[in-house]
Symmetry: C2
Subunit: 520 residues, 2 copies
């Protein structure tokens, strides 16, 4: 008779969840042991929980189906929360499995006891603690269903150790079939959107979430072609398909003044998978809103509806004879001379392989990347959805596991890299085809900008020290090699182009340290 | 007129909090700028929030007074929670400052919005969000008061960005005097304890929290000498003073069978600063309790009373003529031959400097350390109070900042080190005198043991892969050097002794990678 852990792992696999990003402890040992009984589940060890949760996010963004995590009690979940926050904001399906003390042990307030439920609910659309081994398979299936949504979300299952180790009785519930639900659309919302778009006021479409994937994008491009509406995508999309042959779409700018310029004159903003844009942070004297006064905001689909299907229905209704103009194939030439954020972007644009998955946490060093890669061969672009830095390298791990045939390019800022640098080890262990470009400007450069934006005084030595990543310099070549990832440092544009080309052409992980001056 | 952030920093400094372990973001920029206005506050940059919170724990354990943290919104707090959990379990005073979005920005649900309060309350004895700049100085003082306790705790202050940047009006509250409160004791509890001890049943004293510091220990030794009671300390003390000339005290064992043997025959267990011991984890067929059936449990002080003062009052009441026997100075000789956890412990015992602060997260590789160092010159021993690994290197940072004249020895397991490896960089930047011994057995070795203890089957390849830190091997010498910390690897006992001796004799940080076989 199986124990609860075996039944849980079987239940997950039966529901299609067959990858588990794990950082287990004592209370998860039966789950770990069950991996040998259910070899269809692939366990992937991460050396820090933020790597496990970020990897589950990357996996879910690419496959549209959840991976599982395996985390150890409250502190293990806490370490994984920042990247679950990003997954939550991305609408990624994730089944987040957290071990807990045995039920009878909880009242003893042992050293690792804590309020796991409160932690879990801050990032989860669905949270449950299972109290009987016999319920675990059904609860696993419910977690998977909840994770799929729509909207996709983090579903957290808290599994007490005794529930894992107890035998499942004969009365164990029958497995529940689960999977993505067919998308629902609201005909009324689509009719309303069509009427509004036909009124011919300057309009814009803002895509987000799953609607920024290929299908939604193509439908949105048909709508834009039919109506003259401007096609925009949220600032930090979970997964944007782009490149030569695809409909080009502009991302809304990060800075309020730039975003306001993009939306100037817009009288109608139609949302699909996105919410009304606001500034990322508050600044003195600003109210946080971006859209112009008097601009009407409509949504083609609510959070529980299928925004992609809604766009397709709307595009069909608009019946345009105009064919959208796809992005032309255009690449910058290989750069020469000084290595800067701009010349590095040119090298990346020149070399980006077909079908690449780009994970972008380059932050300030990345501002030239969208333009430099717009006409590269088709690729996916995954961004920092929730603003919790330390997302890039873990998401690259998950994306590479999800799509073993596709090259992954992680564009990573030095400051952000250090939050979850342990991801490099999992890349090496699993021999993932991830090329990391480490933009090494030795600053929290975004904060140089933000310090001015919030109106703080010119920084003196005390403030400056907290934005500075030198004294000592971080040696990312040593850090990568120390975790089994081959690495080299580039200090000219030619060196960078050469090293990047070699890294992309070879299988397995590698890192190119890209020495660039800070922007600000 | 100062802004809120300046008033907050001044309020903290006025209350004696003059070190801030920081990993700031945009919403904390005014606090960062205020460091230049209030130079008495020392800002210490950490590259990951778990380093900042663990450093605050180490600082508080050594000084008895709180340091401040500076964390960025919900995800920044989440990254710091595991070490705040350890601080919470240690009873360490910490003032945990977390920036939040501006109040008017919160309703916009910007990407970084999350439920910070729920996160904070899982680890904090006191949590407050400040709504007016004019309240910040007073709230800072209240946070400091709450952190001191007793019991010492994490006090979390949530500071919206607009509260930081707004001017403090003339009506700004007068600063509140704060500091540690004089300890209260319960005469009734002390009388009751004296009567029970005099009944001459086999008794044991279990010290924990602040009572394991020197004063409590000396008083407890007088009580033990007067009554024949066995002197024990909790398994994972926050700070235990020990070594030649001090009263020797045994730590309660981690494993249930060993701890039960220590307590066998005990009819009275007197707690001081500790709670009734329970097993760290639950195991099938065990009930989690350790004390023998029929053993009476008494407490000399409740959580809000001063356990150290209670012990002193009790010792005075017992009026013993017997002088406690101090620990004799005894050191192992320098080891030769194979480098193992046992020979490494001998080398550490042979070389441990006077007044060292030992931070022990050696886990399985550390089992010979207590015996090997018992007779070393007087030193402090800081342990993993809450079981959330990744505590050792950050606590070493904070302890070294707190006691610049004393050598710090961080005894660290490879698996645990990887959770907060970024601490090495702060050691290098601040040129802290921390010698790290990295017990490098390439396993989560504790889990090899725990997998058997919970009764899971003999591990197959799936389970084994999740306990194994090889494939690829971590190169801690490269990792340390990559963060600016000099490092060498020892593979024989002689090499280890030589490298450790040199590292201890030189100022500034260093790391000795200690290649040992796993125990299990």
């Amino acid at each position: 008779m199986p124990n609860g852990a075996q039944s849980l792992v079987e239940g997950l696999v039966d529901a299609g969840v067959d990858v588990c990003f794990a950082n287990p402890g004592t209370s998860e040992m039966h789950f770990v042991a069950a991996l040998d009984d259910v070899p269809r589940m692939r366990g992937v060890l991460c050396l820090f929980e933020g790597v496990a949760t970020g990897a589950a996010d990357g996996y879910g963004r690419m496959t549209g189906k959840p991976a599982s995590t395996l985390l150890h009690l409250g502190p293990g979940l806490a370490n994984g929360l920042a990247n679950l926050h990003n997954a939550c904001r991305a609408g990624t399906p994730v089944v987040n499995v957290v071990g807990d003390h045995a039920l009878h042990h909880k009242r003893l307030d042992a050293p690792l006891e804590s309020d796991i439920g409160s932690l879990a609910r801050t990032v989860s659309g669905w949270t449950r603690r299972t109290y009987r081994a016999t319920d675990l398979a059904a609860d696993a299936a419910e977690a998977v269903t909840a994770a799929y949504g729509p909207p996709g979300s983090v579903a957290t299952l808290l599994v007490p150790a005794d529930v894992s180790w107890s035998e499942v009785g004969k009365a164990g519930q029958a497995p529940v079939r689960t999977g993505p639900r067919p998308g629902a659309v609201s005909s009324a919302a689509i009719e309303e959107a069509a009427v509004a778009l036909r009124s011919a006021e300057p309009a814009a479409l803002l895509l987000g979430g799953a609607a920024a994937n290929g299908r939604g994008l193509r439908a949105a491009a048909r709508i834009a072609a039919a109506t003259g509406a401007r096609l925009l995508c949220e600032t930090f999309p979970a997964r944007l398909e782009r490149g030569a042959g695809l409909p080009p779409v502009e991302r809304l700018a990060y800075r309020e003044s730039d975003a306001a310029a993009q939306l100037a004159g817009t009288r109608l903003l139609l949302l699909a998978g996105a919410t009304e844009p606001v500034t990322f942070f508050a600044y003195p004297g600003q109210n946080g809103r971006i859209i112009p006064d008097g601009c009407e905001v409509l949504s083609a689909a609510t959070g529980t509806e299928d925004a992609t299907a809604a766009l397709e229905a709307l595009a069909d209704l608009m019946k345009s004879a105009v064919t959208p103009i796809p992005q032309a194939p255009l690449r910058p030439g290989p750069p020469t001379g000084a290595l800067t954020a701009e010349s590095a972007a040119a090298a990346i644009g020149a070399l980006l392989p077909q079908d690449a998955i780009v994970v972008d946490e380059a932050n300030t060093s990345g501002i030239w990347l969208p333009a430099a890669t717009a006409g590269a061969p088709p690729h996916d672009w995954l961004t920092l959805t929730g603003g919790a830095i330390g997302q890039g390298l873990p998401v690259a791990v998950g994306a590479a596991l999800a799509e073993p045939g596709r090259p992954v390019l992680a564009l990573e800022a030095d400051g952000s890299a250090m939050y979850t640098i342990q991801a490099l080890w999992t890349m090496a262990r699993e021999q993932l085809d991830v090329t990391t470009v480490l933009f090494d400007n030795r600053r929290y450069s975004i904060l140089d900008l933000e310090l001015r934006s919030v109106g703080a005084a010119a920084p003196g030595p005390g403030a400056t020290a907290l934005l500075d990543l030198s004294r000592p310099d971080l040696d990312f070549v040593a850090l990568a090699r120390g975790m089994g990832v081959p690495a080299e440092r580039a200090i000219t544009a030619e060196e960078f182009t050469d090293l990047l080309g070699r890294a992309l052409s070879e299988p397995g992980p590698s890192l190119v340290d890209c020495a660039v001056p800070p922007l600000f």
